[in-house]
Symmetry: C2
C-alpha cells in the first residue's frame, strides 16, 4: 500500500482496513485451534507478511500468544503455534434468575475461567436489591478474574423475561415489570468499584444467551437451526436459525413457556391460563412429585435422586412434564422446522425420564418429514454451556470483532 | 471504463457488472413508480449516462417502456417517465389446492393480468391426473396471456403440503405422499405444448407463496415480520421474518395447521389428533354450522350469508374457529414475536365473526409486550394477493434479478 499515491483520507482508510484485518486474524487464531502464521494467511487470504505484522500487533496488545512449534500440515520449516491469550481481555456474564445468581468470566477463547453461583430467592427482595446483590457477586468474580490475570472489558446480564433496551419489560416469575436492570446493575457495580473505570453493561433474555452458549460450545456441529428450552422456575426458550438468534419483530421471540397446553388450566403469573410453565416448570414438577415446590435446586437434586430410586411419584411427575413438553414442542417444530431441540436447565439431568414421553408426542404429532421417527434430535444441552457463559462469551465476541477498540 | 488498461478477463468482468447493473436499473424502475432516468441514476448511484445506456438496452429487450413526461421533483428539463413493460416477459403461477386449481399470469410489475380458476375435488383423482388437469388449465392461461401480449418465462407451482426439491413430501388433505409434482406437471405441460420450448417449473408450499404475495402486494408497509395463515380445507401457514420467508432447517416451517389444540381431539389426516385444522379448517367450520362439509366454496359463501343473516349456528361455528385460531396464534406469537398476523383464504371474508374471539385469546394469552391490547395486528389478507399470484410474481422476481438471462 505504500506505493499508492496519497489520498484524501489515507489514514482513516488504512486504519479501517487494518482494524478489520486485525479482527480477521484474531478470529482465525480463535477458531483455528493450532494455528500458524502460514495457516492463518491461507485461511484469511492475506499475505504471510501482512499476517505476521498483524500477529505482532495482536501479541503486543496481549490478545495472542505463541506456544511451541508444529510440523503439521505445512511443508518446509515448522511454524510457531498461535493461540488466543489465556490472560488479559475477558468477558463477564451475570445471570440473574428466579432462585439463583450465576456469574461467569470467560477468557478470549470462551473458556469459563471463573464461576460464582449463589442460590437465593430473588422473588423475596425488590429488584434494586437483587441487582445490587448480583453486582456484589460480580465484583467478587472480578477479584477472582484479576487473580488469574483476566480483565473483563464488559458485562452482559442474562435475565429471565422480556428484555429490550436494557429494561426488563416483564419477568412474571420475578415479578419485575419495567425494571431498568441494566442501569441499576451498572450503577451498583460502579459504586462497588469506585477506583476503576465503569464497565459497559448489556442485557438479554437468559434463554437467548444459553442458546448462544449451546451454539458456540455445545458441539451441535451442523445443526445450526434449533430450539433451545431452559427449564427453570420459568421455562425460557430461544430459536436459533442458521446460527443466528431469531429475535422477532420486538426482540421477544422464543417465549415457549407461555404457549398454552390447556386453555382452562391453572392460572399463570403471565395473566393467561394453562401455560407450559404450569406443567413443566420447576415448581410444577416438584409439586407433582410431592416435593416442596419452593425447594429450589436441592429440590431438583432430590427429585432426580427419587427418580433414580424408581420412586413412582417422582417418575410420573417428570414423565408428565415430558409429555407436556413434547406436546408444545410438536407445535413449535411444526412451525419452525428445526434440526434439533435442546433442553437445558433442570431438564438436562431429568432427560432419562423426560425424554421418552416427549419423543413419543413428537413422533406422533409432528407432520412426518419434519421429525424422523428416531426422535434423535431431542437432546440435552451440553454441560459446558449456560446463560452466564453465553453472556460472558458475547462480550468476548465483541472483542474478537474489533480488538483494536480494547 | 474505456480508459482503463486492459485486464486479464475484461469482458467477463464487464459483462458481470453490466448484468448486475441492468438488474439494478430494472428493479429501480419496477419499484419506483413514476421513474425518470435521472431519478433512477440518483437511486442506484450510477451516472446518468450509464443509466441511459442500460435503459436503452432494457427498452430494446422489451423490459422497459417510456410513457409521457414528468416535471415532478427534478429541476431542469422534464424527464421521460419509465415503466416496466406491460407486455413481454411474464410469470405463470399455478396453485393446486384441495378443491380448486387457480392459475395466474403476472406481468413484470407483478399485476395479475390473467386469472383462471376451476373448482374441482382434487382428492377424487390420482395425483398425475390432477396435475395433468392443472397443466391443461395452465396451457389455456398461456393462450390468454399470448392474447394480451405476455410471454411467461417460467412456472411456479403452489401446493398444499410439505414441498421440497420439486416433490410433495406430504399433503395430508390431498392424500399425496412423495409425489414428484414438479416433474409430472412439467411433462404434462410440455406434452400439451409440443411446439414451444419447455418452461422451467418450480414449486413451493402454497402458504409460503401466498405470504410472499401479501408481502409484495398486500400493503403491509413496515410490518415485514408476520405470520400468514391460509384457511382452506387445510390450514396453511408461513412465517416472514424481516421480508424473507423463514423456511426452517428442511424447508417445512410454518405448518400451523398441525399445531395441537386438544391432544385428545379428533383424528387428523396427518396422523396426530386435535390439530388446529380439525377446529378451524374449512370442513370443520362448515360442519359445525350445519352445512355439508364437502360443499367447497359454495358452502363457504353460504356460511358467510348465514352469518350475515345472524344465523346462530353459523355465527357460533365461526366464532369457535376464531377462538381456536386465537389459542394457537397466541402460542405462535409467543414463539415468533411478529408485527402482524394475516389471515387469508376463507378467513378473509369471515373476519367480522372470526376476529373478535381470536383477538380475545391473543390479548389474554400473549405475554404482554408482545401483543398490544388493541389487537390491531390481526388482519385480513389483502384481496389482491394469493398463492397463485405470489407464485407468478416469484417467476418475475427471477427476471428482475437477472434480466439479461431472459
Amino acid at each position: 500500500m505504500k506505493s499508492n499515491p496519497p489520498r484524501l483520507e489515507p489514514k482513516a482508510d488504512k486504519d479501517t482496513v487494518r482494524r478489520h484485518n486485525l479482527s480477521l486474524v484474531l478470529r482465525a487464531v480463535h477458531d483455528g485451534g493450532e494455528a500458524t502464521r502460514a495457516g492463518v494467511a491461507a485461511r484469511v487470504g492475506l499475505t504471510r507478511a501482512a499476517v505476521s505484522s498483524l500477529v505482532e500487533q495482536l501479541m503486543e496488545s496481549g490478545f495472542v500468544t505463541e506456544s511451541g512449534k508444529t510440523f503439521s500440515g505445512q511443508a518446509g520449516r515448522p511454524g510457531t503455534v498461535l493461540k488466543v491469550a489465556r490472560t488479559g481481555v475477558a468477558g463477564l456474564g451475570v445471570e440473574v434468575n428466579v432462585d439463583y445468581v450465576s456469574v461467569c468470566v470467560t477468557d478470549l477463547s470462551g473458556d469459563a475461567r471463573v464461576r460464582l453461583t449463589e442460590h437465593t430467592d430473588n422473588r423475596a427482595a425488590p429488584s434494586a436489591e437483587v441487582l445490587a446483590r448480583a453486582a456484589a457477586i460480580a465484583s467478587r468474580a472480578l477479584e477472582s478474574a484479576a487473580e488469574v490475570g483476566l480483565r473483563p472489558v464488559g458485562v452482559q446480564l442474562a435475565l429471565p423475561g422480556l428484555v429490550s433496551g436494557g429494561t426488563v419489560r416483564q419477568a412474571p416469575n420475578l415479578g419485575w415489570n419495567g425494571v431498568a436492570a441494566q442501569d441499576v446493575f451498572a450503577r451498583a457495580l460502579a459504586g462497588l468499584l469506585p477506583e476503576r473505570p465503569a464497565l459497559p453493561v448489556g442485557s438479554d433474555n437468559e434463554a437467548n444467551l444459553a442458546a448462544l452458549a449451546e451454539l458456540w460450545f455445545g458441539g451441535l456441529g451442523r445443526e445450526r437451526t434449533f430450539l433451545y428450552l431452559s427449564g427453570e422456575i420459568g421455562v425460557g426458550g430461544a430459536l436459533v436459525l442458521g446460527g443466528e438468534l431469531l429475535r422477532g419483530a420486538h426482540g421477544f421471540a422464543g417465549e415457549i413457556g407461555h404457549v398454552v397446553v390447556d386453555p382452562e388450566g391453572p392460572a399463570c403469573r403471565c395473566g393467561s391460563r394453562g401455560c407450559l410453565e404450569q406443567y413443566a416448570g420447576q415448581r410444577a414438577v416438584l409439586r407433582a412429585a410431592g416435593i416442596d415446590e419452593n425447594a429450589g435446586l436441592p429440590g431438583v437434586v432430590e427429585l432426580e435422586a427419587r427418580a433414580r430410586a424408581d420412586d413412582a411419584l417422582a417418575v410420573a411427575a417428570i414423565r408428565q412434564a415430558g409429555s407436556m413438553l413434547g406436546l408444545v414442542l410438536s407445535g413449535a417444530v411444526n412451525l419452525f422446522d428445526p434440526d434439533a431441540v435442546v433442553l437445558g436447565g433442570i431438564y438436562r439431568t431429568l432427560m432419562p425420564w423426560l425424554s421418552p414421553p416427549a419423543v413419543e408426542e413428537l413422533n406422533h404429532r409432528v407432520v412426518s418429514g419434519l421429525w424422523p421417527g428416531a426422535g434423535g434430535r431431542l437432546r440435552a444441552a451440553s454441560l459446558t454451556g449456560d446463560a452466564a457463559r453465553g453472556a460472558a462469551a458475547l462480550v468476548v465476541r465483541d472483542v474478537l470483532a474489533d480488538p483494536a477498540a480494547y
